[in-house]
């Protein structure tokens, strides 16, 4: 052989070895948490979410398939390009085997595309957009905690049944807000109501006064808040200040425990909201709540409960199939019934949505609240099918008609 061809052959052999090395590391679980650690959704999941993942791992035993479990985390700052590029980087360089979290629908949609391209499971927790299991579905996306369809079916139905027929929306101006508005609109129209108008506010707006005046000018009975996190608590606070809540009923289309805490019971009392988990539901949830409180000094939100559950489910699936191979793990997950402190009668639908029991809650008045974080009372228990429908989303390209 000539010098040149020797080098080429050696190079090829080295390349093969490197490929072999990468796949040898594939039996080691590497969990990635790409989430909003510092922005409007930071308290809903954030850094505490990483703590919860670690809690779950140590409860599981710390190792699976004989190897230690690694956790990587990064702040995506609500920017889709950061989320997607970090996902790609970890997939290429760190042997990533699963991504949990996401929070922001726009970022999660971008990440789901990377999940499909890299064939790595992405368990979306925190993002609401139903399109993650609809038009944007992929074979590797699981939408875990809740979605905008369930929120519409839960909260919007409860309010319409109480008489709120005409609606005006204040919507966060990105994928999540518009999908939430659409979900609620569907329910409103199906129940004989009308949408009198809507206005879009950029993500992170702090001063809602002018949007609220427009809402009031419309004369609608219900103020539909299609936003979340600090956007939600700010708009609610302002609605109270401007006396809007005297003439319009606010609809908290998505509210987490931390938002109610930030808005205070004084402002938030009487609100309807839909959630998949609440720390004070039963002894199991309370036990988790106490452990979380000991670490983070506040009670867990639905997303923080979800990420614990998702971590355990994933690790169980890896153990059951004996490898971290994405297709095998995804198939296993889609076969498994989920019954833990987070989800009752949960299963993963063909389009990737984790269907499980959802609760419509009413926020307690300050007088009804007997101890710290005693914020909700259950008004309705919806089965997974009632919340999200039994059939997979027909807009999902994966579903064969």
């Amino acid at each position: 052989m000539t010098r040149k061809s020797t080098i080429v052959v050696l190079g090829a052999l080295l390349g093969l070895c490197a490929a072999k090395l990468a796949s040898a590391a594939a039996d080691q679980v590497v969990i990635g948490d790409i989430d909003d650690m510092s922005g409007v959704y930071a308290d809903v999941m954030g850094q505490a979410g990483v703590d919860v993942i670690n809690m779950a791992i140590s409860d599981f035993g710390g190792t699976v398939l004989g190897k230690k479990i690694t956790v990587l985390s990064v702040d995506h700052q609500n920017k889709p390009d950061i989320g997607a590029s970090k996902f790609r980087e970890w997939a290429d360089q760190n042997g990533l085997t699963v991504v949990l979290g996401g929070s922001n629908t726009g970022v999660s949609i971008a990440m789901s595309k990377v999940a499909a391209a890299k064939k790595i499971p992405f368990i979306a927790i925190g993002a609401g957009g139903a399109s993650l299991t609809g038009a944007d579905c992929t074979p590797y996306t699981i939408h875990y905690a809740y979605d905008t369809t369930a929120l519409g079916n839960g909260t919007a139905s409860a309010i319409i049944k109480e008489g709120g027929k005409t609606w005006f929306f204040i919507t966060a101006d990105y994928a999540f807000g518009t999908q939430l508005q659409d979900a609620a609109t569907k329910v409103v129209l199906a129940n004989g109501g009308k949408v009198l108008g809507a206005v879009r506010a950029p993500l992170g707006t702090t001063d809602y006064s002018s949007f609220l005046l427009q809402a009031q000018a419309s004369g609608a009975q219900v103020l539909g808040l299609a936003n979340a996190g600090t956007d939600f608590s700010n708009s609610l606070k302002a609605a109270n200040e401007f006396g809007i809540t005297r003439t319009m009923k606010p609809a908290a289309l998505l509210a987490f425990l931390t938002d109610i805490h930030a808005a205070t019971l004084q402002t938030a009392q009487g609100l309807y909201l839909t959630t998949g988990f609440y720390w004070d539901l039963n002894d199991q949830t309370r036990a988790f709540g106490k452990r979380f409180f000991a670490k983070v000094n506040r009670m867990p939100t639905m997303d923080q409960g979800a990420v614990y559950s998702a971590t355990i489910q994933y690790l169980n699936a890896v153990k059951a199939v004996g490898s971290t191979d994405s297709d095998k793990v995804m198939a296993q997950l889609k076969k498994t019934k989920i019954n833990d402190f987070f989800a009752k009668d949960g299963y993963i639908r063909e389009d990737g949505l984790m269907v499980h029991t959802m609760y419509v809650m009413k926020v307690k008045t300050p007088a009804e609240s007997k101890y710290p974080w005693d914020y909700y009372k259950v008004v309705k228990v919806m089965t997974g099918e009632e919340a999200d429908g039994a059939q997979p989303d027909p807009t999902c390209p994966m579903i064969k008609k």
């Binding site: 510092s38 922005g39 409007v40 930071a42 308290d43 954030g46 206005v199 950029p202 992170g204 702090t206 001063d207 006064s209 002018s210 005046l213 427009q214 009031q216 000018a217 996190g229 600090t230 608590s233 700010n234 606070k237 200040e241 401007f242 006396g243 931390t258 930030a262 808005a263 205070t264």
Partner: protein, 295 residues
């Protein structure tokens, strides 16, 4: 119902009212910025951070020490102003003789540090600061309910702006300050302690920002991110008013708040950028700003 530009009159009046409230914040903040730039030549990018620190000082005062809103109006600006004085003495002072861009970089860095420290301590969710009991409730103006607190904001901001203008333009102290910025060496030769004057002026400008922060605390949630989005608009306001002009800052602040409010009803998509569009137009037509003097 009468309509203007196709929008019902009550809606326009409501937005103009809100625009006046926002304008008061802009006026107060751009006043501090104009004082610092006009009199010291320092482009204070940390202005938004001091606004945020003022709001946090009020929040921490209430949460940890039980200091109520009215005391916070006095103590928060004093505390943050003191911090400003320390920063001026330790860092800014050394940058006066070099290019202004260094001062800009320093203040920008200070802003980033302040924001990062507060964010790691308090999270990004925003803390609730209650409206003081005396100012709760609203006036029913017919076309809208104006919260009493917002009316107070307008009153307080305009009063502080007028008092500051008076101090600078009509008192001896103000005249010394203005003289010192025109010719520091000569004024120092008269026996006036110019470095001390400069230091106190920076502190005063910072205190104005902190005061705006305390006023803002019950309106928007107290969050480490509250200053960064506002400071860009405030810079635009100062540029429109004229970089060194006190009157320009106050008038443009109020005026632009009104314009923004009007845009929100007529063409909401443009409300975020209308200030910058006006800034671009003013810079082309009158580069020194509406009230500024050509250098």
């Amino acid at each position: 119902m009468t309509t203007v530009f196709g929008v019902p009159l009550p809606a326009i009046l409501g937005q103009l009212m809100l625009g006046l409230v926002n304008g008061s914040f802009y006026a107060l903040l751009s006043l501090g910025l104009a004082v610092i730039f006009g009199l010291l030549g320092v482009v204070n990018f940390a202005h938004g951070a001091f606004y945020m620190l003022g709001a946090f000082a009020a929040y921490i005062g209430l949460a940890s020490f039980g200091i109520n809103y009215w005391w916070a109006l006095l103590l928060a600006p004093l505390t943050v102003g003191l911090l400003g004085i320390i920063i001026e003495r330790l860092f800014l002072r050394h940058l006066y003789q070099v290019e202004p861009v260094y001062g800009l970089l320093l203040t920008f860095g200070i802003a980033l540090i302040a924001e990062g420290v507060m964010r790691s301590q308090f999270g990004a969710s925003g803390k609730s600061y209650p409206v003081p009991p005396l100012l709760q409730g609203g006036f029913n103006l017919g076309f809208m309910v104006l919260p009493i607190y917002r009316a107070w904001v307008i009153l307080a901001s305009v009063t502080v702006c007028v008092v500051t203008w008076f101090l600078i333009e009509r008192t001896r102290l103000g005249s010394r300050l203005r003289a010192a910025t025109e010719n520091a060496k000569l004024v120092q030769a008269f026996g006036i302690n110019v470095p001390l004057l400069v230091m106190c002026t920076y502190g005063a400008g910072v205190a104005l920002a902190a005061l705006a922060g305390v006023l803002a605390a019950p309106v928007v949630q107290v969050s480490p991110l509250m200053g960064s989005s506002l400071v860009i608009v405030v810079f635009a306001v100062v540029v429109i008013g004229g970089m060194g002009s006190i009157v320009g800052a106050i008038v443009s602040g109020l005026f632009l708040g009104l314009i923004e409010g009007l845009t929100k009803v007529i063409y909401p998509e443009a409300s975020n950028i209308v200030v910058f569009v006006i800034m671009a137009v003013v810079l082309i037509a009158r580069p020194a700003g509406l009230f500024g003097k050509e250098q």
